[in-house]
Symmetry: C2
Subunit: 332 residues, 2 copies
C-alpha cells in the first residue's frame, strides 16, 4: 500500500487533465509525464498546464517513445479516443514497453465485441510483455455493466437484466452537450447517429460485458438511437437550443439469448432531463430493484474510475482484461 | 469455464442444505460428499437428505478426515457457526488438506477484527498448503459492506458511508425469527444481546471491512442493540408474538476515524417491518444515494453468495482472503 506507482497521462483533453490532476493528488501515485499530439501542448510543463505546482518539471511528450526515453511509467491513464481500432497503435506501443493501461476508450470495455482478432492480438502482446490493459469509466464501465453484474453476486438465478439511465446533460461538460446533438435539427442528428458520428459510445459493449459475465451467448443484438426534441427553448452554460431542435439522445440496446430478450439497456441524456437516475432491475431469484437517486455523475465518476483502477490493475495477471477480471471496485 | 469443481458441504442445517442443493444444480460443480456432526445425519445419503436424486450415492461423513479418505473436494461450502474461534479447528483441518473454503461464518468476513493472531495463523496455514478461505453471505458479505465498497469505485473522494437495512423478519426462516428475539420479554432480549447470545452477527465485521478498503484507521468503534417491541399481536408461519413482547432487533454500529464519524451501519430486523429496503449513502465526490427497494432477500441471497463465490475463490492467491481480494461478485 505504501509503494508509489509511477503514472503518466496519455491524452490531455478535459477528461485527461482531470484524470491527471486526480492521480497527482493520490499519495500512492508519482506522475512522471504525459503524452499528447497537440503541438500547442508538446514540451509544456504539466505544472503550468494543470495549475498544480506539484507537477512542476513533468513534461508533455509527443509520443510514448519520447516519454519512455525520459521516464518509464508503470501505468498510463489513457483518454484519447472512443474506438478500439483507433486506440490500438497507442495501446500496442505501451504494451510492448511493458506498461499497463487504464483507458476511457469506450469500446475497450469489451473490445472482443467488434474486433475479436485485434483484441486477441493485443492480449497476446500484453501477456508477452507483462502488461495489463483495461477499459473502464462510469458509463461504460460501471453504472450499466459492472454494478448490475456485482448485484448478481447474490443471485441464485438470473433471468433478465434491465438498466435505465437518465442524465440531465445540462449539468455536464460542453463536449458531452455537443456529442448528444444539442442544437442540431433532429434529422441531422439521426443522420450523424446512423453514421456513428453522434451518440453514446459503449452501450453495446456494456451489454456484451454483462452477457459475458452471465455466460449468455447472445443470438441477437439490436441498438437504436433517436433525438430527444426540445419542448422549450433551453440555455445552458455552454449553448442554446431552440424548441424543436435536438436537445439530447435516447439510445437503447437489447440482447436476445435463444430468442428471448435477456438484456436491455436504455439511456436518455438530454438537456433539462427531469429526475436523473440510474435504475437496475434484475429478474431472478431473488429479484432486485436498485435505484441510484440522482444517478452517478458522469465526469467526476469517470475520472475517479480511471484513477481507482490504476492500482488494482497491477494485482491482476497480464493481458487485455475486463472489469470482471479485476478485484472489487474500490476508492483508492 | 468447463472444468468441474469438486465440492463438499460442511454443515447440513437449513442454510447448509440449501447451499448444497444450489451447488448441486450448477453445471460446473461436482458434489463429492458432506460433513456434519449430527449422529442422525452421519452415514446418510445426500440424495435422501435433500430429495435431489442427482446426489444419490454421496454420503455424510462425521469429519473432514473421513470425507477426504473417501473423496477430496477442491472447495468446501462451510455453514456451521458464527464465531471465528469456533470455526477455526474446522477451517484449519481443511486448509491443511489444501481445500479451499467459502464460509457463512459471520466473523470470517473480517476475522482480523476480533482475533488478529488467529487470523494470521490461519492465513499462514492457507499459504503453506495452497488453500483459500473466505467468509461471505448477503449480510455480512454484501449489502452492508461489499456493495457500498463497490460503489466507491467511481468516487474521487469518500468522506463517509452510511448503510441502513430494514428486514421484514416475518418473511424469513424460523431460526432467524428466533435469533432476533421474537416473543421474548424486552429485558430478556437485552440481557441476551449483552451476553452476545442474541442479535445480528457480523455488523462490526462489515464496518471493519469497509474501513479496511477505504484505508481508514478506526479510532472508535461502538455497537448498540435494542429490542423492537411489538405494537400489536403478530402471528407468523412459525411463531406468535404478543403486543409488548420483542418482535425483532435494532442494531447499530459506528466507527470514528480521528474523532469523526465516518461509517454508520444501521439494521432493523423485525416481524411485520414496513417498507423493507437497503439504503446506502456515500458522502463524497460524487455523493451517491442508492436504494435497493424491498431489500436483498436474506436466505436465498446468502446461499447464492456462497455458491457464486466457490468458483471465483480459486482464481485468487492462497491465503485467508477478504471479499475485496476477489474479482467482481457475479452470478456463476
Amino acid at each position: 500500500m505504501t509503494n508509489t506507482i509511477s503514472i503518466a497521462q496519455f491524452g490531455l483533453g478535459p477528461i485527461g487533465l482531470e484524470s491527471l490532476k486526480l492521480a497527482a493528488a493520490k499519495p500512492w501515485a508519482n506522475i512522471v509525464g504525459a503524452v499528447d499530439i497537440d503541438p500547442a501542448k508538446i514540451g509544456k510543463d504539466l505544472g503550468d498546464l494543470t495549475g498544480d505546482k506539484n507537477l512542476k518539471g513533468r513534461l508533455v511528450f509527443r509520443s510514448v517513445e519520447d516519454l519512455t526515453a525520459h521516464a518509464k511509467p508503470r501505468v498510463v491513464l489513457h483518454t484519447t479516443v472512443s474506438k478500439f481500432p483507433a486506440a490500438f497503435p497507442q495501446l500496442e506501443t505501451l504494451a510492448r514497453a511493458g506498461i499497463s493501461v487504464v483507458s476511457s476508450c469506450e469500446e475497450l470495455l469489451f473490445p472482443q465485441l467488434l474486433n475479436l482478432d485485434l483484441a486477441a492480438k493485443l492480449d497476446t502482446i500484453c501477456r508477452d510483455h507483462g502488461a495489463r490493459i483495461i477499459g473502464t469509466g462510469v458509463n461504460p464501465g460501471f453504472v450499466m455493466d459492472v454494478l448490475p453484474v456485482c448485484l448478481t453476486g447474490v443471485s441464485r438465478d438470473v433471468r433478465s437484466i434491465k438498466v435505465q439511465r437518465v442524465v440531465n446533460a445540462a449539468t455536464r461538460r460542453a463536449p458531452l452537450q455537443k456529442k448528444i446533438g444539442s442544437g442540431l435539427p433532429p434529422e441531422e442528428f439521426r443522420r450523424l447517429f446512423k453514421e456513428g458520428r453522434a451518440g453514446h459510445a459503449g452501450l453495446k459493449e456494456s451489454l456484451a460485458l454483462i452477457a459475458h459475465c452471465m455466460n449468455w451467448k447472445i443470438t441477437d443484438l439490436v441498438e437504436t438511437g433517436d433525438a430527444v426534441i426540445a419542448d422549450h427553448d433551453i440555455r445552458t452554460q455552454f449553448l442554446e437550443v431552440k424548441k424543436g431542435q435536438t436537445c439530447g439522445l435516447h439510445q437503447y440496446a437489447e440482447a436476445k439469448v435463444n430468442g428471448k430478450v435477456c438484456l436491455t439497456l436504455d439511456i436518455k441524456m438530454y438537456l433539462d432531463a427531469p429526475n436523473p437516475h440510474d435504475a437496475i432491475q434484475i429478474e431472478g431469484e431473488p429479484s432486485l430493484n436498485v435505484v441510484v437517486n440522482g444517478g452517478v455523475a458522469g465526469d467526476h465518476a469517470t475520472v475517479a474510475a480511471l484513477a481507482n483502477t490504476a492500482r488494482r490493475i497491477l494485482n491482476a495477471p497480464p493481458g487485455l482484461l475486463l472489469m470482471s477480471d479485476l478485484s472489487l471496485p474500490c476508492w483508492s
